[in-house]
């Protein structure tokens, strides 16, 4: 239950989100946060993070959009060749430099201390141009969130003080819910220390990041726990980057672990709790990635349809083409409304915010898969080629749908939570 004070803060902030267009920007919340102690920061991070005014969101959106247009769009095709082409190191470092990886981190970790609205708006704009970077941001944010949920503050702080982006990044198998399909390593406890062995599938950012969060089961326990490992540990061997459907520049690897030193995150056996709490929040961010891809695909198709001539005029004049475009535009408009509402729900802890977040993702990811196939279709043969990015968006949309677990199971879980 929230204390009276906290509720008022939330209520106040709702106003902020709603009405700032006409009001001057409220005093930056960051300053307040500085003077409170660790415990309060945690509360702030967990409960009252949504300090983003509309104006701030607009600025963030603009920054992300400009970044994406400048750093991502020109090399989209090239970057998509990974692992058979070079990795977009530059873009990654720039993104790190402008703090895109710090959005949800609390202030004392050099974070922006923002909520899902801010993360979503960033991902949306990034993914309009290239969702690979979005995938990296998402995975890293999910990992950070997981640690926040587990209360692993010291560890997170240590990681966040790293200088280079690779050292800073945290890998996480973000496409699997370990309590559903049991891809788990085995953990062994000796004294207070843990070591991990076994294999782990599809570790996202495994070949980029300095450390990874690994779900593992401790012998004798039916529930799994999360551990932090240093990816430079000699006991870890990594596969080549796994050739995958989409998000080529957000690569995953398979890991083999052989007595790898590991730090427990949170408490033993609580892995599933942390995952679900993280997923409650991050689902809406995944939805935003899908939205970004949808917007990119629509824009490309719309522009093309206005230029391409078949049958003696621009194809946009064929009413069937209009119909398809319209269906795309309607989806986007709906997705925008849903995400805005869901982000607000998450950030202000409205009743049923978890449901809102998950429902947004499940529905919008579906829509993105439908929309991007039309996105190819409207370009005909060239839609199928690398040149216009439509085929990439189609792949990415499907890839994004698989974030945080198997889709139908996410749906089954959704209703089970209501029964």
């Amino acid at each position: 239950m929230l204390s009276e004070k906290e509720t008022t803060i939330i209520a106040l902030e709702e106003d902020v989100v709603e009405f700032t267009e006409t009001k001057p920007t409220p005093p930056a919340p960051k300053k307040e946060a500085k003077s409170v102690d660790v415990k309060d920061v945690k509360i702030a991070a967990k409960k009252t993070a949504p300090r983003t005014s509309k104006k701030e969101l607009t600025m963030l959106a603009k920054a992300a959009s400009e970044f994406a247009k400048k750093m991502l769009a020109p090399n989209r095709e090239e970057n998509d060749k990974y692992p058979f082409g070079p990795f977009f190191e530059d873009a990654l470092e720039k993104a790190f430099g402008v703090d895109f990886f710090h959005i949800i981190l609390p202030e004392d970790m050099n974070g922006m201390n923002q909520g899902m609205s801010a993360l979503s708006v960033t991902l949306d704009n990034i993914c309009q141009e290239d969702s690979s970077l979005g995938g990296i941001l998402f995975t890293n944010a999910a990992a950070q969130e997981l640690m926040i949920q587990a209360g692993s503050k010291a560890e997170l702080e240590r990681i966040c003080s790293k200088e280079t982006v690779r050292d800073f990044l945290i890998a996480l198998p973000v496409f699997n819910n370990p309590s559903e399909v049991k891809h788990l390593a085995q953990a062994k406890k000796t004294g207070d220390a843990y070591t991990l062995s076994g294999s782990l599938e599809y570790m996202v950012l495994g070949d980029l990041a300095g450390q990874a969060i690994i779900p593992a089961s401790i012998a004798g326990s039916t529930r799994y726990s999360y551990f932090l490992v240093d990816l430079k540990d000699k006991g870890i061997s990594k596969s080549e980057p796994i050739l995958s459907l989409g998000l080529h520049a957000c690569p995953a690897v398979d890991l083999e672990l052989n007595h790898v030193k590991a730090t427990l995150i949170g408490q033993e056996g609580k892995g599933s709790d942390y995952f679900e709490k993280m997923a409650d929040r991050l689902h809406v961010a995944a939805a935003s990635m899908a939205l970004g891809v949808m917007k990119g695909s629509f824009k490309e198709a719309f522009d093309y349809a206005k230029k391409r001539e078949q049958g003696g005029h621009e194809i946009i004049n064929w009413s069937e083409v209009k119909m398809i475009l319209s269906n795309m535009a309607i989806k986007i408009s709906n997705a925008e409304m849903i995400i805005e509402k869901a982000c607000k729900a998450v950030d202000t802890l409205e009743a049923k915010w978890e449901t809102r977040s998950r429902a947004a993702a499940l529905h919008i990811q579906d829509m993105a898969c439908d929309l991007t196939t039309d996105g190819i279709q409207l370009l005909g043969g060239v839609g199928y080629m690398k040149d216009f990015g439509q085929e990439k968006r189609f792949r990415d949309a499907k890839h994004i749908q698989a974030l945080l677990g198997i889709t139908p199971i996410k749906k089954i879980t959704f209703i089970e939570n209501m029964i």
Binding site: W318, S319, E320, K322, M323
Partner: protein, 501 residues
């Protein structure tokens, strides 16, 4: 190029070649005369649509909304006059002996004009196939000849099938489920017959049928092994009609409650009981399953044909609207987006049709119509003079050995893959066809705007009607699972269907 043994081994891998190619095989085997018969049937159906159904369909739907307890006797008599209740009964049983797959085309045709009226004619054949699947030839003969007599005298004798109970709908459609279900309609053995107690609900054409094929159970604790099929005549002591349901659509065809209160059925009206099922090669439960599947594999093809009919009715209504309506100064049918939607709808009709046709090919080669479509028998019955048949057939049919022989051929000689093929395809057709029906109705209403909403423009009625198809003869969900069981899981020991979750 490739050796014979290799061919055999490759074709017996999944998907089985035989599961994939029913039509290809059927076209080499089935009697060519079926083409002409089918042509005739479709012609007849279209004439009936034009003369009887089309002028009456909307009116009856309207009447039923005013007076939901109205019973459409008039129409039943009309259909009886046209001979529709015997058209697909084999000649040896006193019918006209048209090939059964042509019934599906008939259902599509009449269904495209009105599903309610088409139901009134064709659920009769659901009961006919139920009695056929029991292979109790003397009783088949008796009942079918009553129907034929009804045609001659002008007093219609329809049959209905009563399976569904208030507490068990899906459960009684599937042997795997029935033991877990709450079945309550029991048959207790007494001297000279059985006493039925309990009730059945949603029985199509119940109130207008003369005979009811009632599936009940001699032991409610283990229904899967104690299924019994009894023929009950309207007017029997202890048997009465309950309410007529007030439905969203298919209003022309009553859905009736049948109530049994110590209703006595003599032994010679037992179509099938444990005494019979126990004598077959398969266990009792498997035999019951097989018999259910015989019925469903053919009746579901029929429901699929109704789906095709609904899809077609919707398509034709929308096309008609598009041809006669101007939108933004141009005939709607000349707007490309509308053409594209209409094409999609046309396709939906065709797909629905292809599925029921293919299922019938399977039924013809491996299922209920196998014997009767064997070329020698087919032509023999086709050309044998009616007088001879009427005279000698009952004599032969009443022999216990004839029933034994037919059960041997149809039940014991049907292999598991054959039985899976027909049942699986039956389910496939059922949910495909009926999903297509619904889909097209939705699209028609989208295209037609406010015209789509008015009863007098037909589209909304077809929508109301077609929804039923996704529910009866096993809900579409059940049919998906049955397809899975029959055509995917087969006998893979690792896969369990209808496991408790």
């Amino acid at each position: 190029m490739i050796s014979r043994s290799e061919i055999k081994s490759y074709l017996s891998k999944e998907p089985l070649f035989d599961d994939m190619t029913c039509s290809l095989k059927a076209t080499t085997r089935q009697p060519a005369a079926m083409i002409k018969e089918t042509r005739k049937i479709i012609e007849l159906a279209r004439r009936f649509n034009k003369e009887v159904i089309e002028p009456y369909a909307l009116e009856l739907d309207r009447t039923m909304q005013k007076d939901p307890d109205y019973l459409p006797w008039e129409f039943v008599k009309k259909a009886n006059e046209w001979g529709f209740f015997t058209l697909w009964i084999p000649k040896i049983f006193g019918g006209h002996g048209y090939n059964i797959p042509s019934l599906s085309y008939f259902m599509e045709e009449t269904g495209s004009a009105c599903l309610g009226l088409s139901n009134l004619i064709c659920v009769h054949y659901l009961a006919v196939s139920t009695i056929f699947a029991s292979w109790n030839l003397s009783l088949i003969s008796k009942l079918c000849r009553l129907v034929a007599q009804g045609e001659k005298t002008g007093v219609p004798c329809l049959l209905s099938t009563a399976i569904t109970e208030p507490g068990a709908g899906t459960d009684v459609e599937e042997v795997e489920l029935v033991d877990r279900g709450k079945v309550a309609c029991s048959a207790t053995k007494v001297e000279g017959g059985y006493l039925i107690n309990g009730s059945k609900v949603f029985i199509s054409s119940g109130h207008v049928s003369q005979w009811h094929m009632v599936i009940c159970y001699t032991d409610l604790k283990k229904p899967s092994e104690n299924m019994i099929i009894l023929a009950v005549e309207t007017g029997s002591k202890g048997f009465s009609f309950g309410r007529v349901e007030h439905k969203m659509g298919v209003k022309g065809c009553p859905a009736s409650e049948l109530i049994f209160d110590n209703c006595f059925v003599p032994d010679d009206l037992v179509l099938l009981s444990r005494d019979h099922t126990g004598k077959q090669k398969r266990g009792v439960k498997e035999t019951c399953g097989q018999i259910l599947d015989y019925v469903l594999a053919s009746s579901r093809a029929g429901v699929s044909a109704w789906g095709a009919g609904a899809a077609r009715g919707a398509y034709e209504t929308a096309l008609d609207f598009a041809l006669t309506t101007e939108v933004n100064g141009k005939t709607l049918a000349n707007h490309e987006w509308a053409q594209s939607m209409l094409a999609e709808m046309y396709k939906n009709v065709c797909i629905a049709r292809l599925t029921y046709i293919e299922t019938n090919y399977a039924n013809g080669m491996y299922g209920l119509f196998k014997t009767i479509q064997m070329k020698p028998l087919f032509y023999y019955f086709k050309y044998m003079p009616m007088i001879l048949l009427d005279k000698f057939a009952p004599m032969i049919l009443n022999l216990a050995s004839t029933t034994w022989l037919f059960r041997k051929i149809q039940l014991d000689w049907q292999s598991d893959p054959e039985f899976h093929r027909t049942a699986g395809w039956g389910s496939l057709a059922k949910f495909t066809g009926t999903d297509m029906g619904m889909k097209n109705c939705q699209m028609a209403l989208e295209i037609m705007g406010q015209s789509g909403l008015r009863q007098d423009r037909r589209a909304e009625k077809i929508l109301r009607d077609s929804k039923l198809l996704q529910i009866f003869e096993g809900t579409n969900q059940l049919n998906r699972l049955n397809l899975f069981k029959c055509l995917v899981a087969k006998n893979n020991p690792m896969i369990k269907v209808f496991e408790k979750e």
